[in-house]
Amino acid sequence: AQSVAQPEDQVNVAEGNPLTVKCTYSVSGNPYLFWYVQYPNRGLQFLLKYITGDNLVKGSYGFEAEFNKSQTSFHLKKPSALVSDSALYFCAVRDGKDSNYQLIWGAGTKLIIKP
């Protein structure tokens, strides 16, 4: 069965420090992986995706994520956190063989950046 796990409900980071939000997945075929961010009282914004190619993908707002096939992970990272990065982050996966385009969503991780 397809699944996504975000093992941390909340991550606390001091401003200026590097941040990591973890995501692991399980799909039967090739994974299409996505990160979204949701600011308070806002819709979801697409950050970045991995479909194929280079394992390190760069996205909006200075975020990047590394696809690790052996560890079935797609952790979100940023070298230097900003207070404005505080938000709810969702990882999602789709099986590349799945023709109905449905995403499987993680539970979300609340990122809190402290000044």
Partner: protein, 112 residues
């Protein structure tokens, strides 16, 4: 990426009434999705709406409760019928564009 708008942005409704949520996209898209999200929680897919075919509902969601229209490639509506307080949630419209889903700002519904 597609730009998506939703109306209304929020509403407070009485139980037993119905609310229709509109989703407008600035480009033609084949696949549209309707999600429900409790504040601070993950997303639950209600249905997939493709233009020219009946919407496909996920387990736990039925057409009588959540009728969907998809009259053209840029517009869709979701109706929440005979509402109860359990329907209080955020409803999100999403479109598929080059392997990526993009989301509208959401409709925050409160049922009293």
């Amino acid at each position: 990426s597609a730009v998506i708008s939703q109306k209304p942005s929020r509403d407070i409704c009485q139980r037993g009434t119905s609310l229709t949520i509109q989703c407008q996209v600035d480009s033609q898209v084949t696949m549209m999705f309707w999600y429900r999200q409790q504040p601070g929680q993950s997303l639950t897919l209600i249905a997939t709406a493709n233009q020219g075919s009946e919407a496909t509902y996920e387990s736990g969601f039925v057409i009588d409760k959540f009728p969907i229209s998809r009259p053209n490639l840029t517009f869709s509506t979701l109706t929440v019928s005979n509402m109860s307080p359990e329907d209080s949630s955020i409803y999100l419209c999403s479109v598929q564009d080059y392997l990526t889903q993009y989301f509208g700002p959401g409709t925050r519904l409160t049922v009293l």
